[in-house]
């Protein structure tokens, strides 16, 4: 039996890796991948705790499971929109490197 804290540490580390990637990467697709990593870290955290709470309650609650499913669906919708935006930018500018796309400043 793997203790709960391991899952939480894994989730926190994954979230931090994703956050670091989202801040440091210049390529928009890489930023998107990093953000997905953050969302999946959250899912690990939720499911681990859902399991833990269900065990300590003695019966299965559905809330954590539903939440994880909703997160996956919302993340998929976000990726669909995000990739569409990235493609639209690419068509105009022929690059997806965020730091090269800088007409707006001041």
């Amino acid at each position: 039996m793997i203790p709960l804290s391991w899952y939480l540490i894994l989730a926190a580390v994954l979230f931090s890796v994703g956050m670091f990637g989202a801040i440091s990467r210049k390529n928009a697709v890489a930023v998107l991948i990093s953000i997905e990593l953050m969302l999946n870290a959250v899912n690990i955290n939720i499911l681990a705790f859902w399991h833990y709470h269900s065990q300590s309650l003695g019966y299965t609650e559905i809330n954590g499971l539903v939440f994880a499913a909703v997160v996956i669906i919302a993340a998929a919708a976000e990726v669909a929109i995000g990739l569409a935006i990235i493609i639209a930018v690419y068509r105009l500018r022929k690059t997806v490197v965020a730091s090269d796309i800088n007409v707006l400043k001041g």
Partner: protein, 482 residues
């Protein structure tokens, strides 16, 4: 088992979302040059929903196993969202024709976003908060990039999307940690666990802080404001107007609902953070706005500063004695700011010749002479933004400052007053350019846009004579909040 009362509690949201889905199909049969029909249908849908909101206001219902709540607070916010939606449709109708982005999806996406905001004001479960946040944000990413042949628009969209998705990651992690700490997702359950004292306080606090970060992005509070100027500048102007009013209001709706119901016990930890955030937001927003000569950017920084004023009153969220005033003052301010903001953005729409062109301060020269009523209307909006008496903006600021002083945050109120004085410089500079610089502006003024400007200007002036009526409505919304 779904009861009728559950359906009744979210009927307006269902009408807006369902109407948008139908409109998406109907729009296929509307020819390209008659997209005004789509705009009209969208406005009718919003008006019907508004009717249902007004008819069901005054009730308090917990629907769908406490997933959503219908109360005075949600009704007040929903009226605000629906009216902003209708104003945005009126502003967009002429604009998207002129900018050659005349697609019917514009109105449909706006309706989806409004449905998300309405759900946000009703959410009584962290899952619903997240879902509503996504439902309001995702159509907005698309709307921001709606002018898909313009690089400004696409860049703004990309920036908004990446930072928005990043922020929703924080909201999610915060939600997960609160779930970890309490084992519950719905507000009633979480509040019960917290009151019983069996929540893990460390995880709970970190979760609350992460939620604050996520909502901070949505309301554009410093230090999470960096996307705002770029997105406001690059997006089509009616979308910017809609964002600066409705999205900000939705962010504050979520912030108030979540913090007032779940986190009063954490107020001693969160109050210093909020204090610093409010002070920074007011200072940065107002100081940076001084240096802008693009009107869209200037109004963007001004929007950041106004979020700071609201946060100033919100710092007292854990103080049970003044929290009612906080909510009433915030709701009042959102109305006052919304009226002023829509008027000012409508004027930007009038002077914007081409996409993103003609919106520098120099382009305002001569408007006061050649179009005197436009000049006077802009004068009213700028005075209201600056908080000069006899405008709604004055009363909004008055109630916010009063709440801050009541709660004992005199230092914060002084920072607010000083930055407010500084803001008069850049607001009045707009008026100086309009009335005192010579110029020969040639404007095409659409009747719908002038209607928005006229009504907003009159409302800002006339409602300031009877501000207590709106404050009373806002106070009644408070009573049913918790």
């Amino acid at each position: 088992m779904t009861r009728m009362i559950d359906i009744y509690s979210i009927l307006p949201v269902m009408i807006v979302a369902g109407w948008a889905l139908l409109l998406l199909v109907v729009d296929l049969w509307i020819p390209r040059h008659r997209k005004g029909i789509t705009a009209l249908l969208a406005a009718i849908g919003l008006a019907i929903a508004l009717g249902f909101v007004l008819a069901s206001s005054g009730n308090t219902i917990l629907g769908f196993n406490q997933m959503v709540v219908l109360d005075g607070f949600s009704s007040f916010m929903q009226v605000l969202f629906l009216v902003s939606g209708m104003v945005a449709v009126a502003l967009a109708y002429d604009y998207i024709q002129r900018m050659n982005i005349n697609h019917g999806e514009f109105y449909v996406l706006m309706m989806f976003s409004i449905a998300g905001m309405m759900l946000m004001s009703q959410a009584y479960n962290l899952l619903m908060v997240f879902l509503a946040l996504e439902l309001l944000s995702i159509p907005l990413y698309v709307l921001t990039g709606f002018a898909r042949t313009r690089l400004e628009s696409e860049e703004a969209s990309l920036k908004y999307f990446l930072l928005g998705a990043f922020a929703s990651g924080f909201v999610l992690y915060g939600t997960a940690l609160i779930f970890s700490a309490t084992g519950q997702l719905d507000f009633v359950g979480i509040a019960a666990v917290v009151t019983a004292g069996s929540a893990n306080s460390v995880l709970f606090l970190i979760g609350a802080a992460l939620l604050l970060v996520g909502f901070g992005f949505k309301i554009a509070a410093v230090p999470f404001q960096m996307w705002t100027p770029d997105v406001y500048q690059g997006a089509p102007t009616p979308v910017t107007a809609f964002m600066s009013v409705a999205v900000k209001a939705a962010g504050f709706a979520a912030l108030m609902r979540v913090f007032l119901v779940l986190f009063p016990s954490l107020s001693e930890h969160l109050t210093p953070i909020l204090w610093v955030m409010a002070a920074l937001t007011m200072i940065v927003g107002n100081i940076v706005a001084l240096a802008q000569n693009n009107i869209k950017r200037m109004l963007a920084y001004s929007a950041i500063a106004h979020a700071g004023y609201i946060l100033m009153a919100f710092v007292a969220f854990g103080n049970g004695e003044v929290v009612g005033n906080t909510v009433a003052a915030t709701l009042f301010y959102l109305v006052a700011y919304g009226l002023t903001s829509f008027g000012a953005w409508a004027l930007v729409i009038v002077i914007e010749r081409e996409y993103g062109k003609g919106i520098l301060l120099d382009d305002l020269a001569g408007i006061g002479k050649h179009y005197p009523w436009l000049g006077v209307a802009m004068l009213v909006f700028m005075l209201s933004f600056a908080g000069v008496p006899l405008t709604m903006g004055f009363w909004g600021k008055f109630y916010l400052f009063r709440t801050a002083v009541q709660a004992g945050y005199i230092g914060l109120a002084i920072i607010g007053l000083l930055t407010s004085v500084a803001s008069a410089y850049y607001y009045l500079r707009v008026v100086v350019y309009m009335f005192m610089k010579p110029g020969e502006p040639k404007l095409q003024i659409n009747p719908w846009v002038s209607l928005v400007i006229g009504v907003a200007a009159l409302a800002v002036l006339l409602l300031s004579l009877i501000p207590w009526t709106i404050l009373e409505l806002a106070s009644r919304a408070v009573l049913l909040l918790q």
